[in-house]
Symmetry: C2
Subunit: 237 residues, 2 copies
């Protein structure tokens, strides 16, 4: 403890902070991959692929726990202050959202296994695929915002969340129409309602991540404020 500010220890500390950042990015990429493949398995009706994704979910959980432990370790041993402290707190929160995105991939995969037996119209799959692509692009951008500590990117991504909600509402209407048309559509349509909702919730998690990035850079908690106010805070020099 005596040497806490010596160049060596300080470099070591920097490396630890760098390490959790790198691991968050890895976790984010892995989770995005899981989501992407889960939607693919659903659209292709590939139950085998879906099972593989479910089997990989433990890796997300393991990353969650080990990054979490590293954060607590840093809090205990390094007593970070100011922006370092904000980084550690933000990471603790970001990985919670990433982990829940991972849960979403698992949920979509389970739906993929069940729905691989059904004969679902392809246009509804197209809508879900397009919603998922849009949301995944947001997820990748939010990771870039975190990597570069770039508030502008974070703000831009957060601003897209209402677009996800709107697309999701469209899918919901489509599905209800199918259900009304023929009661035999109800089972698969309910299943796809969950899938749509899950993707829409992934959008919410991405928005949370962007809000943590803004908190990280700006030192201001921008959760629970409207998009307009977030913009104001980001622009505020």
């Amino acid at each position: 403890m005596l040497y806490i500010t010596s160049p060596h220890t300080s470099r070591q500390y920097d490396r630890e902070l760098e390490d959790i950042r790198a691991r968050v990015l890895l976790m984010g990429q892995f989770v995005a991959q899981q989501v992407s493949e889960s939607v693919e398995s659903l659209v292709k009706g590939d139950a085998e692929q879906a099972r593989k994704i479910i089997n990989n979910e433990y890796q997300v959980d393991a990353m969650d726990i080990s990054i979490d432990e590293e954060c607590t370790q840093i809090l205990a041993c390094r007593q970070p202050a100011a922006s370092d402290l904000r980084l550690v707190v933000a990471v603790i929160k970001i990985i919670t959202d990433l982990e829940r995105i991972g849960d979403g991939a698992e949920r979509i995969s389970r739906a993929a296994i069940r729905s691989s037996k059904w004969d679902t119209p392809s246009n509804i799959y197209e809508s879900i695929k397009s919603l998922a692509s849009y949301t995944l692009a947001m997820l990748y951008d939010s990771l870039e915002a975190f990597e570069k500590m770039d508030m502008e990117i974070a703000l831009e991504v957060a601003t897209k969340d209402p677009q996800v909600d709107a697309q999701y509402e469209g899918i919901l209407r489509q599905l209800i129409t199918y259900m009304i048309e023929d009661p035999r559509n109800i089972s698969w349509a309910v299943e796809l309602l969950w899938v749509g909702r899950t993707v829409e919730r992934i959008g919410d998690h991405v928005r949370n991540i962007c809000e943590y990035v803004i908190y990280l850079v700006k030192g201001k908690d921008v959760r629970h404020v409207g998009l307009k106010d977030i913009e104001q805070i980001v622009r505020d020099k």
Copy 2:
């Protein structure tokens, strides 16, 4: 900083820790109240009450932000170690779950406003009420577990989560039956699907809270392990 271990400062520090604990409990009780009233407004078709709950949601957000700030403050100024550090980290996580339970109450209230115009069979409301009561009792017990730092209570509550899932599955089946019977039921049934799902997710959040309580007392991360393993860890002296 020189007086960090003087009786006065230490008492002050204890008070700060006591304060965040008390505020988590207050937040938890408020959120539970919101959920309880949202379900009541749904069952009674009381759009007025539902609007009141939505208007109160900002209070949950405010508690979330201010407890969060207090935690970061304690991390920065007190550099807590061991069980104090675990308390602060657990609180940061618990309030995230409480805040999302609050979001759930808001979502149920919005459904209550929309569904107040429909003529929904009372037995389905009874099922939802019963699921909500069961989940709310779990939430109150999880708060008690946190208040008393009681792992046994936490374990008992976590063990009940599969029961919530099973009740929810029952509601899902009931609703699908209504949809198949008559397409005119589809709109309200889809609305109530979301409500059922929201309550089921509240059960997941309660389970998370219990896992954080066990982490708090035991110092072991019990997320992502099966209920049997959690029990093993709790029983492990």
